[in-house]
Symmetry: C3
Subunit: 390 residues, 3 copies
């Protein structure tokens, strides 16, 4: 099994296009090994003497459980803590020290942290691979991988698809991460949202840079659904609105119902990062085009693949390990060799503290560091926030 080009997974953008394809292909092997599609009786997984450390400084039950399931399905074990209340951090220990000690108990770590850039601090300190399951406001890369895995399985390709993103695009972190990647892969993005909750300009620019076209924006789900290959629904949060009546009025047109589904094509697939509240009527669940529960379940083989690749389990596709049965299916996507090509970042000397109050450098005793791409703005090397004058 060829190694990934990275030793940790801090940010999706660290992955090369080859890395992404390798993870998705390995996830297909894993899906087959665990009988994901329910067809073939799986071969028993052999025990694996590797431990995944769960290092969650804020709770995220579902993310945690999908990682735990993945590690157990690989035959390995897990341990960890699920919020910061009782750990040594409460006594004033630095994140770096906590991570160094945890490195002594485990073979790989998955971390969630409330501050941006915390995953970079952890990866720098750890002696074992670190996977970012969310630091601060940024989406975690395994969610994006899970979305790609689902779309590729459901539609047999990742390029040339018409993808509608629907709902609260202003706050929906999942779509902020996914949209530029899909654009880069050759998909057309359509933004479907109330005018009050548009895709932020920052991401519009990113999508345009990746695909060459600025996404269409509309508030008409009803009129758009017939064109789509993928409809990616997001949660609209009642607490974002002044009152409940306002919420009901605005969100009404963005609720997916069986009637709307009648307008959709046969090959349409509906995704949702879950939990869903009111934005998809429960009756849609029975529609075979509703892919969101399969999407959630796909998080397990995707995370199995990532764990196996970062642990560099060399023998994982040979017989005595009983996993990785055969080869991945053929997909037609044009695989860009680099998903989101980062321009070479140059260090910028002599700046003060990061201006982002939610940056890990505000609490951790690391030297603030700044970088810039050619023609780009100066950004923090940890949280990647732009350091504009203020």
């Amino acid at each position: 099994m060829d190694a990934l080009s990275v030793a940790n997974l801090v940010s999706f953008e660290d992955l090369s296009g080859r890395d992404v394809r390798r993870i998705l292909d390995t996830a297909e092997d894993m899906a087959r090994a665990i009988g994901f599609d329910g067809d073939a009786p799986p071969i028993p997984v052999a025990p694996l003497d590797r431990i995944l450390g769960i290092v969650f400084f804020e709770p995220s039950t579902r993310t945690r459980l999908s990682f735990e399931s993945a590690m157990l399905r690989l035959g390995g074990q897990t341990l960890g803590f699920y919020d910061a209340a009782n750990c040594s951090v409460a006594k004033g220990e630095t994140l770096a020290d906590t991570i160094r000690v945890m490195s002594g108990y485990c073979d790989i770590l998955v971390m969630r942290h409330p501050l941006s850039g915390a995953a970079k601090v952890a990866a720098d300190a750890a002696k074992v691979p670190v996977i970012n399951a969310g630091d601060g406001h940024r989406e975690h890369p395994t969610q994006t991988l899970t979305d790609l895995f689902c779309i590729r399985r459901e539609l047999k390709r990742l390029d040339g698809l018409k993808v509608g993103l629907c709902g609260d695009l202003k706050h929906g972190r999942t779509v902020h991460s996914l949209a530029p990647v899909l654009a880069q892969m050759g998909c057309e993005i359509i933004c479907i949202s109330p005018p009050e909750l548009p895709m932020p300009e920052r991401y519009m620019t990113k999508i345009q840079a990746a695909s060459g076209t600025r996404p269409v924006e509309t508030d008409d789900l009803q009129g758009t659904i017939a064109d789509l290959d993928v409809l990616y629904m997001t949660r609209m949060q009642r607490e974002r609105f002044a009152d409940s009546a306002e919420y009901d009025k605005i969100t009404g047109c963005f609720v997916l119902t069986p009637e709307m589904m009648e307008k959709g094509r046969e090959q349409l697939k509906v995704l949702h990062p879950l939990p869903r509240i009111d934005e998809i009527a429960p009756e849609v669940d029975e529609d075979p085009r509703a892919a969101y529960f399969r999407q959630a379940a796909g998080g397990v083989p995707v995370r199995m693949a990532l764990l196996a690749l970062l642990l560099r389990l060399p023998e994982y596709d040979v017989k005595d390990k009983s996993i990785g049965l055969g080869k991945a299916p053929r997909y037609t996507e044009a695989a860009p060799e680099v998903v989101a090509p980062k321009s070479e970042l140059q260090p910028v000397p002599g700046k003060g503290p990061c201006r982002n109050q939610q940056c890990i450098t505000t609490t951790e005793p690391v030297e603030p560091a700044f970088v810039k791409a050619e023609d780009g703005p100066v950004i923090c090397a940890y949280c990647e926030e732009e350091q504009t004058e203020h």
Copy 2:
């Protein structure tokens, strides 16, 4: 290994008499495999690539740990959450959605929930078997199975026993479940309680229906103990009484002491669902007739059996799995083919919401449904509460 007649364990009454006997016999195999009686060195359990998901919407540490121990003793693994505080339910997700997602992480689920009927909603939504570990005010079926397992082991039969139930029979949910089952199996039930805390009429009727005789009621433990084969003690909760003096006065006669034990027969066995507070003096623990700690430990082989049967582990008694060593011992009980024969329930159309404020239909978007047996009252299909006029 023959399958059970049910795919889930929602209610004890769903089990046929054959199911109960199969679970208890398999539990004997499991007890032997894990060296439960301390006599034979157990053969190592082979790893089992199955995951038990613990889905506890309210805490119950002991129930959780006995299920975890059972799954680990089978060679399997566990994951889950232990209260609802941090899970997606807090964000407004339905129980059905949570269960569907958890189904993707596990091979079998055990659930505890504060609302009645929640186990039925979960079983309907899950793609894997669901075990009810308590929903709302109802006792969970694995406690009843554990009690039966203990009595059968200790007395070598389940029929024709004189069983005294002692303590707070008004609130003791364990005895509410157990008594009708034992009556059905041919045991004589004696209710021993303060007049303030009698067995509710509802359960008196059930016991009488099952055995043909109305149980004797008495407040004289001292005068009754000499007749008993089984004395099932229950907890008296100080908070149910006006003041501590009242509590001490009333409960004094219902505390089992070494002096009272002297009046009991040699074959008497004392059970208690634990935790016990003051109702059994610690000195009784040394008496070989005190079976309550063996009763608690028996929860592990019983739950191993239930997990193995619901997972339909077909090869579990063959050699390469190293468990299920030989055959169960001979017991003399008359095994009624159906434990608590449910009359055929007919749907009742067109009723409004369930009148039980603790019913899962009050929070979950499921259609309320009602059923009735011939000549019986209309009951909720979820929580089984009677829908009397109000």
Copy 3:
């Protein structure tokens, strides 16, 4: 594998010198088996069908995780609870009952409890071995074993070393336990602390009794470091001082910096029980003489050794278990046959309750019991507090 002389580990002082050596030697085997030094690829650990029960009545995340890691590295499994909030103790159950029930779910227990003497109550009640991970104010014995393991690995012996203990020696429970043991083994102890935070007289007496010499006391870390083989740093807690300025003034001279390290010998090793706050500058971490992260990691093989020995895994060093590869390295320490020879304790009849308000006998229904050594004071048999007149 020869058994230890004890069935439980309640107190470090219960261990004979031979026990300590056996644990440390076995820990070396374990370190080799898990590739602790990173040199040799470890042989896979075979699954072990044994369960460690974690019974923590107060949280201690790091202690818990190091035990969990150790049990998983042995191939075994863990379950348990991590604070007392939701367990049956909250319903009024005695510690002894909780332990008896937990004994039915596990093969060995590790317990942490806020009251002194709780570990003795647990060991008396349990049917499986019990390891004390801290009860009340006393340090837990596996921390002391971990410290010894680290010193022996780093310096190839345990006798004849000059060991400086530095920081808040008044409250530092770790050094209270470690210093008498090292003194007994032939080390010279130097106490380096602010005059406000000296080693308590009680431990000064113990150290002197063990080594024959009263330790030197100084507040001059700078002037002492050049003489030391081991510098054991401890945490200074800001909350012990009247104000922050006072804290900064006093602690300033006890912060280990790269400049101070320059004065230290080449063979000097710096230890710290962690978490560290300000008392060691982060730059010292890069110094190869900084042993504290290796010390923390060493807790895993030490606890593996202890678990394996208390579980009496007889075949643990044979080939089919794939652990314990070969023999421990040669060390030069003079191994005293008994580490801290306890004089024979005689029961003292007829005393009232223990005078220690933090003693487990204040809440648990056990008969208070007192003992005394020849010429020694009367002490509680549970918490070992002296029962002076008052």
